[in-house]
């Protein structure tokens, strides 16, 4: 080793703090915006008029704006800030390319701005957490690749031999998010902004929740765990409790997580074996998750006195505790018996906000409170204000989540109650009005949390004002020397030092779970039994369906009747896989703020066209007590039929059996059907032109659930 020592010359270099600062500012700005939008949407749940009766600000459009802003803008920017800060220091190297850092930064912010414009305009493709239109999807992929090149470039030129566990989490994040994004975004464009998912019905649902679940895993969990493994030891000034546990945590988490997606589809038309697989892996997931939580909390053993003093640690302790709570609750909610109650209810919203507000939000606040004083060469302006922020946030989380747990449980039990005579005890509206005050409480909790965030903004502003920013932080370290090692190294040490091997191994591991579930669902015929009477949508219905997607109706209405006594009694025959074969994208939904619509047009539930017309004009005229927004513009806006032909052609390419050249005459059929609906409305004394959007939406509503109502029951699913 003598030669090695001789060549060890210490190199001087600088950490790039400017890029961290930029991502940090973006975190704060978009965090506040995302939270305000969330609060706005939350108030609409009991005071619908606050939608202002404007299309861009109705719940169905604000909700995706809120989720995208929080996930991709707030947590995304916070993760990038933390990654750019910690990766440089863990690699003892400046980022590989400043230029790529800035392309990543501005590219990501442009994507966010594009999302903030398109989502309120109703431009979305109807897949939860993947709503953005196809040109933005492409931009995301490109920016993500830039980020990856820069990250791997930095890792390769590092001066530290070993890859610390935080970097493993970053690598897994990068590779898995790339995989998820690409597979979920495969879609067929029919215009500059519109596209249809490549998958239909059950298959689309499987891909969606494989994506949705793992977006939580690999966008909201693994990068933040990486941050935890770096910033917690830094803040506590002691190494992580067990590095061995962190390795087990990492590998088992990424391996198991990817299988658990189908727990979002329990009791739906997804094949039973896939549901069971999802449940089993979800239960197993508790072990790596809690391994990580305990590893975090035990790091503070003997240092709890520091928690009393240091706001950064305070935030981290609650963040990690919330991680533990959410990952304990997740497996419980995956049990079929619990899921039967929790699914479609506010319970889910409470659950995700323990993760969002507690784990992600508090971790983001913690690293901002840690990094900003360090990068400005000063100390935090006021620990007292940070502590106030901490308490407001913590109390806010409790006041947010507890009422929603209560509301979810109560409403779900009310749905399921029968009178001694065997009738449903409550109509749907009663179950909604009953929990309105819980929604009020929830928005109070959210407000407290938001006030806390504003206090942070002030505190950070004052901290920045009293310090001087260090754009390039000097550091020095010796380069890695390719030493000829004398003794044989244990093989894992080799893997651990090779980032690309790590990348490939992570990719293989996460691909396994997805493939095991997707291959049979796509290839095995018996998984999606065909039903002869299910026919493609008429052109008018298709246009109506696209309006349904545009308005985000699925954010409040499910289209999936589970095989429960109460749901069959309330909505009709339970949903079958074969009913959705032409649904690009599927619209099963994940929340039932309003009733299920899967059989809205079936004879059992049929309402006159005029009812739908009046209901869209003002839901409270037909359904007193309703919390649905008004959709006045649908009554006035003209349906754009110039897209019909392109839409039919796209559907044909996706395998929907419209006759050849049908696209050329589709609008003739469309007008015929529209005139007939306008005629029906006229009979009920509603004068409207047949070319309005409302007509298409009514056509779609009236079609829902009609296909199989003539079928003998139960439909035998031939194995």
């Amino acid at each position: 080793m003598q030669e090695t020592n001789q060549s060890m010359q210490v190199e001087k270099f600088y950490y790039d703090n400017k890029i961290v600062k930029a991502f940090g500012y973006a975190t704060v700005i978009f965090g506040i915006v995302g939270m305000i939008v969330g609060l706005w949407a939350a108030i609409q749940m009991y005071y619908p008029a606050i939608s202002l009766n404007l299309a861009p600000t109705t719940f169905g459009r604000l909700r995706p704006l809120h989720t995208n802003a929080i996930i991709f803008a707030f947590v995304g920017n916070a993760s990038f800030a933390g990654i750019y800060y910690s990766l440089q220091r863990l690699c003892k190297a400046r980022m590989w390319s400043d230029k790529l850092s800035w392309i990543h930064f501005w590219g990501w912010q442009l994507i966010i701005v594009a999302a903030a414009i398109t989502l309120p305009l109703g431009l979305n493709n109807g897949a939860e957490y993947a709503e953005l239109i196809w040109p933005i999807d492409i931009a995301i992929a490109l920016v993500w690749i830039i980020f990856g090149i820069n990250m791997f470039g930095t890792i390769i030129k590092r001066r530290e031999k070993h890859l610390y566990v935080a970097i493993w989490f970053y690598i897994a994040t990068w590779v898995t998010v790339a995989l998820l994004h690409i597979v979920r975004s495969i879609e067929l464009p029919y215009s500059a902004t519109g596209s249809y998912s490549w998958y239909a019905g059950v298959q689309d649902a499987l891909v969606q929740w494989w994506y949705g679940h793992n977006a939580v895993a690999f966008f909201l969990t693994t990068p933040v765990l990486g941050l935890m493994y770096y910033f917690l030891p830094k803040a506590a000034n002691r190494p992580v409790y067990s590095y061995r546990l962190s390795i087990i945590h990492f590998w088992s988490l990424i391996f198991i997580y990817i299988w658990a997606g189908p727990h979002h589809l329990l009791y739906t038309a997804l094949p039973d074996w896939a549901q069971s697989l999802g449940v089993v892996f979800s239960i197993m997931l508790i072990m790596p998750s809690w391994g990580g939580m305990l590893n975090g909390l035990f790091t503070l053993r003997g240092a709890w006195d520091k928690v009393r003093e240091d706001p950064v640690l305070k935030f981290m302790v609650v963040a990690i505790t919330c991680y533990g709570m959410a990952t304990f609750e997740g497996p419980l909610l995956s049990l079929k018996s619990v899921n039967a109650i929790s699914h479609f209810s506010d319970w889910t919203i409470g659950h995700v906000h323990i993760g969002g507000l507690g784990w992600n939000g508090f971790m983001a606040f913690a690293i901002l409170y840690y990094m900003i004083p360090k990068m400005w060469g000063t100390s935090l302006y006021s620990k007292k204000l940070a502590t106030n922020h901490f308490w407001l946030g913590t109390i806010g989380i409790i006041i947010y989540a507890v009422p929603l747990y209560w509301a979810g449980f109560e409403q779900s039990l009310m749905w399921k109650q029968f009178t001694p005579e065997g009738q449903l005890k409550f109509d749907f509206m009663q179950t909604v009005t009953n929990i309105k005050y819980m929604y009020v409480a929830r928005s109070v909790g959210g407000t407290l949390y938001l006030i806390g965030a504003f206090i942070m903004v002030y505190n950070l502003y004052k901290t920045i004002a009293k310090g001087t920013f260090i754009p390039n932080e000097a550091a020095e370290a010796a380069p890695i020397v390719k030493a000829v090692t004398q003794k044989k190294e244990y093989w894992h040490r080799v893997i651990e030092r090779k980032p690309l091997t790590m990348l490939v191994l992570s990719l293989i591991l996460v691909a396994i779970g997805g493939l095991v579930q997707m291959i049979p669902t796509f290839l095995v015929k018996s998984n999606v039994p065909t039903i002869a009477s299910v026919k493609p949508y008429t052109p008018l219905e298709l246009q109506g369906r696209d309006i349904y997607v545009r308005e985000g109706c699925h954010t409040c209405h499910s289209q999936m009747i589970r095989p429960f006594r109460d749901e069959v009694a309330r909505y009709g025959e339970y949903s079958k896989a074969g009913e959705f074969v032409y649904d690009h994208p599927f619209q099963w939904g994940s929340k039932r703020t309003g009733p299920d619509l899967a059989r809205e047009g079936a004879d059992k539930n049929k309402r006159p066209d005029s009812w739908h017309y009046t209901h869209m004009y003002d839901p409270r005229l037909t359904s007193p007590g309703s919390i649905m927004p008004r959709y006045i513009w649908l009554l006035d806006d003209k349906l754009d039929i110039s897209t019909t032909a392109a839409k039919i052609r796209a559907m044909r390419k996706l395998g929907v059996p419209y006759p050849k050249d049908y696209d050329k005459i589709a609008n003739v059929d469309l007008m015929k059907q529209a005139d007939s609906i306008a005629g029906n409305l006229k009979k009920d004394k509603i004068e409207t032109s047949s070319d309005r959007e409302i007509i298409a939406l009514i056509a779609y509503m009236q079609r829902l659930g009609r296909d199989i109502q003539g079928e003998p029951k139960p439909i035998s699913e031939k194995k």
Binding site: H162, R244, K525
Partner: protein, 55 residues
């Protein structure tokens, strides 16, 4: 672009289940062997990387 159901039913593809179980089992065996055969001293060294207060 169409998805075609190539196989008639899931019972014919039991092998997928078996392969999955084998991969699952092997994964944990390999990982745990790796983790528990590594010396604690090596872990201590690596876990101190973030605390290298030099920078």
């Amino acid at each position: 672009m169409k998805f075609i159901n190539y196989l008639e039913k899931v019972s014919g593809v039991d092998i997928i289940g078996l392969i999955s179980l084998t991969i699952f089992f092997l994964f944990f065996v390999v990982m745990l062997t790796w983790v528990f055969k590594t010396k604690k001293k090596d872990f201590i060294e690596v876990s101190n990387i973030p605390l290298d207060n030099q920078h």
